[in-house]
Amino acid sequence: MSSATQQENSAITTPQILKVDTPLETESGAVLPGYELVYETYGELNEDASNAILICHALSGDHHVAGIDADGKPGWWDGYIGPGKTIDTNRFFVVCSNNLGGCRGSTGPTTINPNTGKVYGPDFPIMTCRDWVNSQNELRKHLGIEKWAALVGGSMGGMQVLQWAIDYPDKLEHAVVIAAAPKLSAQNIAFNEVARQAIMSDPDFHDGRFIEHGTTPKRGLALARMLGHLTYLSDDMMGTKFGRELREGKLQYNFDVEFQVESYLRYQGEKFATKQNFDANTYLLMTKALDYFDPAAEYDHDLTRALANATAKFLVISFTSDWRFSPERSHEIVKALLDNDADVSYAEITSEHGHDAFLLPNPHYEGVFKSYMNRILTELESAQTNAKPS
């Protein structure tokens, strides 16, 4: 790749669209007759298509994972993906797609339903991690990739990586599972349910047909985001960042914003619901997909058996202050992999940033991640040397 193209690639990213005509039979039984996946790629696919990495995004993420888009917005994991970065796009061909049911360009609740001529809205079938993996497998075929060098994902993305390793064991060499869990706990589901109730009880929700009514359930979405955001942060970190600091310097004895933390949360909620214009039906759908994720369920709730056919090599990473998907949840994944004598490494990163830590700078995290990516590169190089005719 010439350095000029490299410059261009890191300067502005352009989303592409894959149109799939094969119907997708979803786990719920609903069938999507066809669909579109929006995705971005970074770096160049090598000759034998062995250097491709698929990134799976989290609940509110999208396909714009790295680089700067036309609006000047950096990708959500730009700190870790790019030329010379942890996932080095000078060496790897990186792909990221918006999950089906999303609201950033892939077919979802805001897309026109060909059967009715109106937006899908609440009629869009509920997706599961397995459905997403099946749709991403079409993208894999389209890109001419026989086997991903690695699947990488954090939080919900990490769960998708696990699903890939279980459903398509021969289609990935490595699985990097970050800040994830093998299934949601009752507490996790409860948080999701409160978020959904916040959205659904907003008078502007109109049973999910808010687009047809020309409204958006902004208050509900903002509340859902505020709640979600809370679960991404740690108590310590909020204490350090906000403490009991007051906006006006003294107590007002009313229900306006008084504490800085209130102001911050309201800002986050507001931004999500208005400026970022996130679709409420997508939010509902993503939280449901999280709730349903439980790959062990079809194996008598035995995660070891669920992972028995996985042949990928694993890197599992958790963060000490993450209470949404705590290190103990990652231990469950590691234990199941060890039971299967799988190749697995596990790092527990000390961080005060809670669940959000997987997106933030951290020397130990970066060190572990980078070393593991180097290991993948070394394997690629030795495979290529061996493959060359003497």
């Binding site: 890197l315 231990h331 590691v334 234990k335 060890l338 039971d339 004598d341 190749d343 697995v344 490494s345 596990y346 790092a347 527990e348 990163i349 000390t350 130990h364 060190g367 572990v368 070393s371 593991y372 180097n374 290991r375 070394t378």
Partner: protein
């Protein structure tokens, strides 16, 4: 990569193609050596973040974990390994006796090395200076040492005896990891580092 005589001695006690767990595996040097020379498979466990990175660099399967709190029993079932190795870490854990039980639960045999507090240099410093010993093998002050459970060869063997643990092999080396005739005659006085291979009594 430099392989210490201590690690070479350990290698001699390992059967090829066996399954090995290395507790406190550091940069993965011993496991790498055993993989290259004995085609073993297995895992390393390590707590130190920098060493975790080094072990990943060395292409070792490493699990970040504390050796306290029975962590190894949460991860591994009984008899998961042919050997559970722990070099120079027995003295830093909270309950060496409990860890020894755990090691022999998940592994058929255990190989353990530790600094001998009964070495004459330790005894001499305590006897003549009246101060806690500081030596090449134990270069810490009493207040900042990570070595909270130091013992002598005799202490360790007493513990094995009390627990019904059989000593299968024993070797001693000095700080340069060399073995001398004197050490063989009076190990508890002249040996600086002890190497033991133990198993549960049948």
């Amino acid at each position: 990569m430099h392989i210490s005589p201590e690690f070479k001695l350990i290698s001699d006690w390992i059967t090829p193609n066996s399954r090995v767990l290395d507790l406190g595996c550091g940069d993965g040097r011993l496991l790498t050596h055993l993989i290259n020379t004995h085609q073993i498979s297995g895992y390393g466990m390590e707590l130190d973040p920098d060493k975790i990175i080094q072990a990943i660099d060395a292409n070792i399967n490493v699990i970040q974990s504390n050796l306290n709190n029975h962590d190894i029993c949460h991860y591994f079932d009984e008899d998961s390994f042919d050997y559970v190795i722990m070099t120079q870490a027995l003295q830093v854990v909270k309950r060496p006796d409990e860890l020894l039980d755990d090691m022999l639960a998940i592994g058929k045999q255990s190989i353990i090395t530790f600094p001998n507090f009964g070495h004459w240099k330790m005894r001499a410093q305590l006897l003549f200076k009246g101060r806690m010993p500081e030596t090449k093998t134990l270069p810490y002050h009493w207040y900042d040492t990570p070595n909270i459970h130091l013992c002598t060869f005799n202490d360790f063997e007493d513990l094995c005896e009390a627990k019904g643990i059989e000593v299968v092999e024993r070797a001693v080396v000095n700080a340069e990891h060399r073995s001398t005739l004197g050490m063989k005659i009076a190990p508890n006085l002249l040996g600086e580092i002890a190497l033991y291979k133990v198993q549960k009594k049948a």
